[in-house]
Symmetry: C2
Subunit: 305 residues, 2 copies
């Protein structure tokens, strides 16, 4: 848990505040012994030293760590101990970590799915989307996903078992695409992208549809977010749109493990990761997220066991 | 309940499909004995004749009627019988009718208010808004309303007991206006207008805020609705936005009466109506709604008892 002053500490540094899309050149990889401003994110770590009674040397944990070789974790609230090591440890950055809780909470708690309902997932091959789609299939729903390449669309249909999938970049009219896959409308939309897709979805929601507002990756890096024009649909169709953040719901983590761990071992749920080796690759991997370069959950290997 | 072929029937006729804002000249008032296409809306009526066992001559009812002197009501589901006549009968088009159910359901069922919470109501002096504000005060909330004239703002503060009120037409920066009245943010927004106001409200919502999506009068007559840019706030602030329609909740009507009837009689809840006399005035009254000419619930007297 503690970095020592004697070890050199390779870090990804943000050189300046980023407006718009991040570029590789906005970051640099440096080797230091003092802390500058490493980026933060969810990682899996092995405890090297600990003054907290719950953690001892050699324990594994996942949580909010720096983008660096060694992190000093100031609060145990930022970590969850890893108890099950018979799955890839990297899964604790994804399906068994924060994105897993996000998918679980958004789908079950926010959307209250019923068997036979129609579910649409955007950014469906990403860290969260691929699990949402598989949870929806397990719940007996009809599931369609959108993604940004033929490879991802194939993955959705062949690997994750989505009923249908389409490449949004090849659809000049998103409303028409949704009407093709949902002639009777959408009960549940798991929102990961925002903007034009949300506008098209609103036109295709059914009465009393539910929209889990998970993220809006198409909007994060715009100086002015796109306008959404079809909110009147929310009134007439009695739609519920609800934002949520995984970290409010860590109490449900045992339920996620209970559902997903055996399903992974039985091959009923699969998870695709896009793994790059070495912190040096981290800036390019981050940049790639915003243009959809990654296929599956983006993972950066800092060190192997 | 039945129009006779022998009576002349004055009606407000829609001359053609209206794009944009309705003008007086889009409608005409005619006297006919045959049905053309009268407009429909909520009215109070006295039964002249009935073949339904629940209704007899002389009964009073409110519900979905034509804009005409005599209406033939095909289904009893479109009417609710009036049992309490010791209040103005016109109230059954407003506070004791559909707008009353709308205020009750939107505030209590959609927003789940708690004592001490901060409530913002747009179009606050209208048929629904004035009741929402008074319900919120009865529930122990801090309430601010917006309206479109000094006269209406005075009404909100002096007659309906809103804590604060402002004229949105005199606020060049709606975000700044909301920050002035809600320095700690808004828990509950009762949405009646849409567009720029919704965008400003999103910036000022508190964590876990609730937005009852009741209507968007600023948007109904635009060829292309305005874009709403700040929906990302819904994710980070865990906001719930929910559309609803009063007619789904008529089962709660007895609860509305139980709460509001005694409060009206005790003077704890007041209701302001803008009454015009005669069907001839109906077209101008409808047109006036979209430019905020009415002060309080707009009522057209077709006939007095």
């Amino acid at each position: 848990m503690a970095g020592s002053d004697e070890v050199s500490n390779k870090q990804v540094i943000l050189k300046h505040y980023v407006t718009g899309f991040p570029k590789d050149s906005d970051m640099s990889v440096v080797t230091k012994t003092m802390k500058l401003k490493p980026l933060n994110g969810y990682g899996v770590a092995k405890v090297l030293d600990s003054t907290h009674p719950n953690y001892k040397k050699g324990d594994l944990a996942w949580g909010y760590t720096g983008w660096e070789e060694y992190s000093l974790i100031a609060s145990p609230l930022l970590l969850i101990k890893i108890e099950h090591t018979d799955v890839p440890l990297s899964y604790y950055t994804g399906i068994l970590g924060m994105p897993g809780i996000t998918a679980y909470v958004g789908f079950y708690e926010v959307c209250s799915p019923k068997k036979g309902e129609s579910v649409f997932v955007s950014a469906a091959s990403g860290a969260v989307g691929q699990l949402v789609g598989q949870l929806a299939k397990l719940a007996g729903c009809y599931v369609v996903g959108s993604a940004g390449s033929k490879e991802k669309v194939d993955l959705l249909k062949k690997k994750f078992g989505f009923d249908e999938a389409f490449n949004y970049k090849e659809e000049p009219d998103l409303d028409a695409a949704l009407k093709r896959y949902f002639p009777e409308g959408i009960d549940i939309y798991f929102e990961n992208v925002g903007g034009k897709m949300l506008d098209a979805v609103l036109l295709n929601m059914k009465l009393r549809g539910r929209i889990a507002m998970c993220g809006m990756i198409s909007q994060y890096n715009l100086e002015q977010p796109e306008g959404v024009h079809n909110l009147m649909q929310v009134v007439g169709k009695r739609i519920r749109m609800e934002g949520f953040i995984a970290s409010d719901h860590y109490d449900l983590y045992p339920k996620l493990l209970e559902l997903v761990l055996p399903a992974i071992k039985q091959g009923k749920i699969v998870y695709v990761e896009d793994i790059v080796e070495g912190l040096e690759k981290a800036p390019a991997a981050l940049v790639g997220l915003f243009t959809g370069q990654n296929v599956g959950k983006q993972v950066v290997v800092v060190a192997r066991e």
